[in-house]
Amino acid sequence: MKKAKIFQRLFIGVIILIALFFMFKIYFTNQNKLKVSSVSVFFEMKDNVFLNFFNQSSGWLNDLFHFNRIRYQTKNLEEENVNLLFQLTQLKNLEEENLSLKEAFNLKKETGWHLLPAQVLLIDPTGFSGQFWIDQGQNSGLKSGMNVILENQVLVGILKECFKDYCRGESIFAPQTKIGVENLESHVLAILEKDNRGRYLLKLVPQEANIKIGDLLVTSHENTNFLKGLLVAKVKDIIPSSNVLKEYILEPLFTKNQLSLVFVITDFIPSNAAFY
């Protein structure tokens, strides 16, 4: 009787294992179909008032818990705004001079990038990867590897996978992000790297490099994945070190906690796009 029970349990266990094997096999084979079907369900619900309420209350709670930081940031931004307005008036004169020189030498007008607006549908709910989904896909001419930015040319991330009507992107908050950057002021080239604690570090900076706190960093020409000239981060602090190379702590310029609208640069596909 006991033996029969053991055999019965073993038999059920084997059946369950076989069922699990086939289930996982089907699961992995239909990966793309499952991804698209789950995203399209959320796409249908995207303008739902109830779900927007969840999203907005998440933002509201985040603001409540970071009230002091927001207050401090607002104060700093007001001062920075006044300084920038002053710089803008000076730059206006330079712009007019530049235009007249271009006309005098008959230079062609620079064409900007071709930007496709896209709405962010979903963001990673597990907090592990900074992944997002947008509502444009291959039907709109998008391909994996295209860069995603905000309207002020701040880098958001890169498209990893494109389906007919949706694309999956990875933001710069993804773990182990590495971007080649250039200091706008001193044109020093370095690497922006995210460490395991979630900090952004500027690495491989020579000792003699002139980098100050507050300097802006843009994507450099050394990147194969990113277009040159996209705003990435600013220098926040220096890490004291006696090594040959210096390191800095950076603050990313993409700081929006929630986002609905991004732009995809459709002119540029990295050379190793096949790897995505």
């Binding site: 789950s38 969840f54 999203n55 929006k256």
Partner: protein, 168 residues
Amino acid sequence: MPRFIKNGCLFFLIGLFQIYFEGGSFFIRPIIDFLLIFLIFSFFDFPFFYFVLLLLVRGFIFDTLSGLAWGTNLFSLFFSFGIGFFLTRLLESDNFFSRIIIGESIINLYFLALFLLNLFLSHSNLWLIILIDALINSVVYLVLMMLGRKIRTCLPSVGRTFFLASPR
């Protein structure tokens, strides 16, 4: 039948809450996985095949949205709840303390599986975030179990409505 519908609706609502409330931010940060905790509570009270369906739905939605290697979430769920199932055979699943042990084991095994799979498949080291996640979710589960027990003892009618089986 009504309790399956009730549970299914709650699962759907909590899932939407998880995706739109917790998933409203780009930042890498620890979160409370309400859906996982809900699944642990449902694990004790619902039959095997219905529960596997819930696991499948949760697994494939989070595999789609999380950005980890495809199958990581699903495998971690099946692994942790599979071990939980064996624990219910060893321990008395109706007992309050047994449920705490089983629930905490499931949570920690789930995050351990996530960490290891992510390390081997994606080669990205998320140990700090996963560790904080495991701690936060363990504490939340414990608090909810204590609260649930208090509610069941103080308000039996409420307990019958919202907690379908009362552990001793």
